[in-house]
């Protein structure tokens, strides 16, 4: 089934935040952000701005009726700065004017005097200063000290990954309308409507039931609108609440890039130990996460790094410690993979370095150590593994030996160009690691004409979740999807939602839709049985016709619904689902946090231009564990998009902050994401269809985040090509692999 939005998308008729028709009298807001990354506010002068044309009001923290606090995990983030600023761009005031132009002109007239304090951008410096967001966490299995003593090979090193700008093409924004009795309706481009509702309630000092958050769809999210959509919605809500006027704020791209957090950069130290058979028997790692100025989601990101410390490998002795370091950058946040990719890059670097030390291909070590069903991960969960099946299927599809010979041959014959390949196995746990978040609800109404309206907590942001919700209902009722409409996500219809995140949205909300539809179906079958005088178990609906014991009864879907109404049964149902079997004990750092894992392996081949230091990804072939995909077209799109986003993170996407904490890559002209020419020439996706029962919706495994990590393979393939040109290259394990790093890597020497 095609994405249900494809008709309106291709006609420009889909409605995003900035497309909502504005009401007469709408005012426009804009944030005044701190010009410095750290300091004490001496004086804020809004006098000149206040007399600026079209200005209505300038809000500061003093105008907040409730709490000046929007921190989700840790209450450490004010909506607006009070006496200190902690990052460049931190909101200090909110200007409200009659037009966007007037607001922008007034923002320029605000003056602030700040007594500067030292700026820290490096997480290791923050750690040394004892500046941590939360206490460090350690995941442990076995005894590394004993194991390292038994290792034949022990390799140590450092690995680094930079941040990543989400670059959803639709920037952040919100539009708030005052409602009667002191209530607020806010349209928000958010992945987490409940987070907006909860924090707005705190800031306004009113109960959650007065705040209606409505989300039609997002022009991309990727984690960047999970927690970070909240402030803009609250700014509009606050202004609207105080002024009793509609207030809108749709951020300019440069405001968005400057003021919002990105994927957490990491720098990590590792030590890996192998026995003589190349089994990895010990792994010790310390992760330094650059959290930015406040917690945001960083502690949860940190946790997922620990969960994915060993990627797709079984290592019996592991000690992994992670530090969430407070720096003077915008609060970093969720981004597809949520700390998992950062952890996986380190183990892959460790394996690559070990392989280099041993003079073998990294794939030998990778293959040897793939996790098997029944193995235990450091956090205690016993694994049902598809790692080896994926790896083997990829090898069945290719003659790897031959490929390696061809590449060696090409590299021998060519000096201007060198080729490199790499394998990237992945293993990604599905569920929110915070167990209570693994719940969802769906509201299903059947109208007397047989048409159906469904509301869930899922936010559509391009991942096709609404299409999947319709598929669930259509399949359970056995009716055409044309009967079913998906509503916007709204906190008045569905309460206490978890954000659309963690790849779990279709699973959780799909299961809730399933629960609701099955209850309705049962009720309708009872009606059919009564009216056709048979037993409920004899009734079946097939393609909108009611069948009794396989025989078509003279009753359509529409007839049945009307019969139900006349019999006064409820044609509405509110389904609730909570993933069974999940638990995790933080005091022991052990448990069963994931409903299941997703596996896969990618083979990446690249060509490096050794004259210019540029490169092309020739092909990525991968075998991915879809379970039983309920929508191969949508799921394939997620794989391709995730892969390319991962390649971007590993190659051209370079976030540059200067030492003063100013973002230098603050626009699309200085921050480059993949374009149509820079993606792999071939992406070849093979479905690993497994019939094993799992907790996914219709056994169709979650597909949002895992493919991003295939992109990590590109880093290592380029590195291998560089090494083919310059075996002595001292190129570091530091992503992204920009053309600058490649060229310097091609021509540096060990003495550099």
């Amino acid at each position: 089934m095609k994405n249900i939005d494809s008709y309106t998308h291709t006609r420009g008729e889909s409605v995003y935040l900035d497309d909502i028709p504005t009401l007469t009298g709408t005012l426009y807001g804009m944030v005044f952000g701190s010009p410095l990354a750290h300091g004490k506010i001496i004086h804020l002068d809004i006098s000149e701005a206040m007399v600026s044309e079209g200005i209505v009001r300038i809000l500061t923290y003093k105008d907040i009726p409730g709490k000046n606090q929007i921190g989700g995990i840790v209450p450490d983030e004010p909506l607006m700065a009070e006496d200190e600023v902690h990052y460049n761009g931190m909101p200090v005031a909110f200007v409200v004017a009659t037009s966007v132009e007037a607001a922008a002109a007034a923002v320029k007239k605000i003056k602030i005097e700040i007594d500067p304090l030292p700026v820290i951008t490096n997480p290791r410096v923050a750690k040394a200063n004892g500046s941590l967001i939360v206490p460090p966490r350690t995941f442990k299995i076995g005894d590394i000290n004993k194991a390292f003593a038994e290792c034949k090979y022990v390799i140590e090193g450092t690995a680094e990954t930079n941040g990543q700008e989400h670059l959803y093409i639709e920037t952040q924004g919100a539009y708030a309308l005052p409602a009667e009795n002191g209530a607020i309706k806010v349209y928000s481009s958010t992945q987490g409507p409940t987070a907006v509702q909860r924090h707005m309630a705190d800031v306004l000092g009113i109960p959650m039931h007065r705040i209606e958050v409505d989300v039609t769809r997002l022009g991309g999210g990727f984690g960047g609108k999970e927690d970070q959509a909240t402030p803009w919605a609250i700014f509009c809500g606050l202004a609207s609440f105080l002024l009793k006027k509609p207030v809108k704020y749709s951020l300019h791209r440069m405001e968005d890039m400057r003021m919002t957090g990105k994927r957490n950069p990491y720098t990590s130290d590792y030590k890996i130990g192998l026995d003589q058979h190349l089994n990895i028997i010990a792994y010790e790692v310390e992760f330094y996460q650059n959290a930015g100025a406040s917690a945001d989601l960083s502690p949860a990101v940190l946790e997922r790094t620990l969960f994915h410390t060993t990627n797709s490998y079984f290592i019996p002795n592991v000690t992994a410690t992670a530090y969430s370091c407070r720096t003077n950058l915008p609060p970093n946040t969720a981004f597809r993979g949520f700390g998992g990719p950062q952890g996986m890059f380190v183990i892959e670097s460790a394996i690559a370095k070990a392989a280099e030390h041993l003079g073998i291909s990294a794939s030998v070590i990778q293959q040897k150590n793939l996790v098997k069903t029944g193995d235990e991960f450091p956090y205690g969960q016993i694994i049902e593994s598809e790692a080896k099946v994926c790896w083997d299927k990829l090898h069945d599809l290719n003659d790897i030996k031959k490929l390696e010979i061809e590449i060696a041959d090409f590299n021998k014959k060519n000096i201007l160009y060198k080729k490199g390949i790499s394998f990237m196995p992945i293993c990604f746990g599905i569920s929110f690691t915070k167990t209570p978040m693994n719940q969802a609800r769906a509201l299903v109404h059947i109208y007397t004409d047989g048409s159906i309206n469904i509301s869930t907590g899922a936010v559509e942001m391009g991942q096709g979740v609404n299409t999947k919700m319709i598929q669930v209902a259509a399949s359970i009722f056995s009716i055409s999807p044309d009967w079913i409409k998906l509503n916007s996500t709204n906190t008045y219809r569905i309460a206490n939602t978890s954000p659309s995140a963690a790849s779990a949205t279709a699973d959780l909300n799909g299961r809730a839709v399933q629960v609701a539809c099955e209850a309705l179906l049962e009720r309708l079958k009872t009606i059919a049985a009564e009216s056709l005088q048979c037993s409920v178990t004899d009734v079946e609906i097939k393609e909108e016709i009611i069948f009794i014991n396989g025989q078509s009864a003279d009753m359509s879907w529409k007839d049945l619904v009307m019969a139900g109404y006349l019999k006064r049964i409820s044609l509405s149902e509110h389904g609730h689902y909570a993933t069974p079997g999940l638990h995790f004990d933080m005091s022991k750092e052990k448990g069963h946090p994931f409903a299941y894992h997703v596996f896969g392996t990618a083979l990446t081949s690249v060509t490096v231009d050794c004259l210019r230091g540029t490169y092309e990804v020739d092909a990525v072939q991968l075998v991915h564990d879809f379970g039983t995909s309920m929508n191969p077209m949508i799921d394939k799109g997620q794989i391709e998009g995730g892969l390319v986003q991962g390649i971007g993170w590993m190659t051209m996407e370079e976030i540059v902050f200067d030492e003063q904490g100013r973002l230098r890559s603050n626009a699309l002209s200085t921050y480059k994401v993949p374009d149509i020419y820079s993606v792999p020439k071939n992406i070849d996706i093979h479905f690993l269809d497994t019939q094993n029962d799992n907790l996914a919706i219709f056994k169709s495994k979650a597909v949002g985040e895992p493919p991003l990590m295939y992109g990590i393979g590109t880093f290592f393939a380029i590195r291998n090509a560089i090494k083919a040109f310059n075996p002595d290259s001292n190129i570091e394990y530091a992503a992204p692999m920009t053309p600058e790093k490649v060229l310097l890597g091609l021509y540096n020497t060990k003495n550099d």
Partner: protein
């Protein structure tokens, strides 16, 4: 008063001519299908089509409307996504829908417009041309493979067009509505505007000014140069090529003269911004913006182009090589515009090459770019011009390096000696596009690349293993 046709409607507006077309259609016409992604021409979400009457036919090209001033719309047919929608999806829309080439959908209208523009163009419908049509559109969701498939499907469906008129074909095949056939006669009724030439602010294509000054330029008094007929056209006189200052990059790329004399022209042009930007960006604009990494500036510096400046009363000629006095400082007064650019076309035995490296190969600003032009006399270099961008405060003509090559024979040794001279002439700084160390190394590599591209006898092994 600005007058044009927006989709099927005649527009007469007295709104400020400096307003962007993007803001005009979204916030004044309430046509919300055109999206805002970056406001600097780097994402293509705001792509629309501009139709220009050429004789009896209207030629369409795509533009990023965030960089297009209302003033440049005068006398044009402006097409937004609302203006192509029929009851059923057209072949482009259908191909996107069939191939799952739309996920969040926010970039989609831009892609649809770029490819619909391709359907209205008389370019041969090859797969490569179809993909080039969307090279200014960024998608963050799909990874582009599904979009490639959609583009290829569109080009396949255009095969049957053969030599038919693209607009008539598009109307007949429900790619665009029937009203497109009435546009030529509607456009004929609009009188051209002659600008006074007295305003201080002058805008060509706007592709750089609207990035730098988007929030202040709207209400300025502007002379719009892009469509001034005396600033258009590419002519050849003997071995001299002369073009108007408002010649766009696309016009160069389509020019028979340029294509005849520069065999790798398309390779160079493909490295310069993107299709919709090239459709607006002018040569004179690139020169006067004085960016130290202006691609066309670097290209024409090596060719020793001559500029004819006009202040409204008189003209004077200066070489491009003496146009730059310092960072963003020009040898030009406020009233002067670049009216004409001329240069000597390379002869068959002359050599020319342009190189550019950036973080992303396409639609990016160079870390370093460079061009080399060489006139040979047998085995000896008679005359050479080397230019380089991103290695100093201005787009640099490397005069010592160029002179160094005089009467030299090309060898690996010579190239290494040349590189030393080049290094002595440049003064790069570290910025978001690279460190000093990188830019120096990169320029050396690009110098090598020039010779590898131009001289087959060069031993690449000797050049690469230094």
């Amino acid at each position: 008063m600005t007058q044009f046709i927006l989709n099927n409607t005649e527009i007469k507006t007295s709104l400020p001519k400096g307003l962007t077309m993007l803001d005009f259609v979204r916030y004044h016409q309430h046509l919300m299908g055109t999206k805002i992604g970056c406001r600097e021409g780097d994402c293509g979400a705001c792509t629309m089509l501009v139709g220009t009457l050429e004789g009896e036919v209207v030629k369409y090209h795509s533009v990023t409307s965030c960089l297009m001033p209302l003033g440049n719309a005068h006398g044009k047919h402006i097409v937004t996504i609302e203006g192509i929608n029929l009851e059923k999806l057209n072949i482009v829309q259908q191909a996107f829908s069939d191939n799952a080439a739309t996920q969040c959908g926010f970039c989609t209208p831009g892609f649809i417009m770029s490819l619909t523009g391709f359907c209205l163009d008389d370019k041969i419908p090859t797969n490569e041309n179809a993909i080039d049509a969307v090279n200014g559109n960024i998608c963050r969701c799909t990874g582009y493979k599904s979009i490639e498939k959609a583009a290829v499907s569109v080009s396949y469906q255009l095969q049957e067009r053969a030599h038919a008129n693209p607009i008539e074909f598009a109307v007949k095949n429900n790619i665009v509505p029937e009203y497109f056939l009435n546009i030529p006669s509607m456009l004929k009724n609009i009188q051209p505007v002659v600008y006074s030439g007295s305003e201080i602010k002058k805008v060509g294509g706007g592709t750089d000014l609207y990035v730098q000054q988007h929030d202040t330029i709207t209400h300025e008094k502007i002379d719009f140069l892009l469509n001034q007929s005396q600033l258009k056209g590419i002519q050849q006189n003997g071995n001299i090529c002369t073009m108007g200052g408002a010649t766009t990059v696309s016009e160069i790329s389509d020019s028979p003269v340029f294509n005849e004399y520069f065999k790798d022209l398309n390779k160079y042009i493909k490295l310069v911004s993107s299709t919709p930007i090239r459709n607006m960006a002018t040569v004179a604009g690139n020169f006067t913006n004085a960016s130290p990494i202006g691609d066309l500036t670097i290209l024409f510096l090596a060719l020793d182009a001559q500029l004819q400046l006009n202040d409204g009363n008189s003209t004077r000629n200066i070489p491009l090589r003496s146009f730059y006095k310092g960072y963003k400082q020009l040898n030009k007064n406020e009233k002067e515009i670049i009216e004409k650019i001329s240069f000597e076309l390379p002869s068959a035995s002359d050599l020319f090459n342009f190189e550019k490296v950036c973080k992303r190969t396409h639609l990016d600003i160079a870390s370093v770019n460079s061009a080399l032009s060489i006139k040979m006399n047998g085995a000896v270099i008679e005359k050479a011009g080397i230019s380089a961008g991103g290695v100093g405060p201005i787009p640099m003509y490397l005069s010592k390096s160029s002179e160094f090559l005089f009467e030299k024979t090309v060898s690996e040794k010579l190239i290494f000696e040349l590189i030393e001279v080049v290094q002595s002439e440049i003064s790069p700084i570290s910025d978001a596009r690279g460190t000093v160390k990188y830019k120096r190394l990169l320029l050396s590599q690009l110098i090598k690349a020039h010779f590898i591209q131009s001289f087959s006898h060069i031993d690449v092994n000797k050049l690469l293993k230094n």
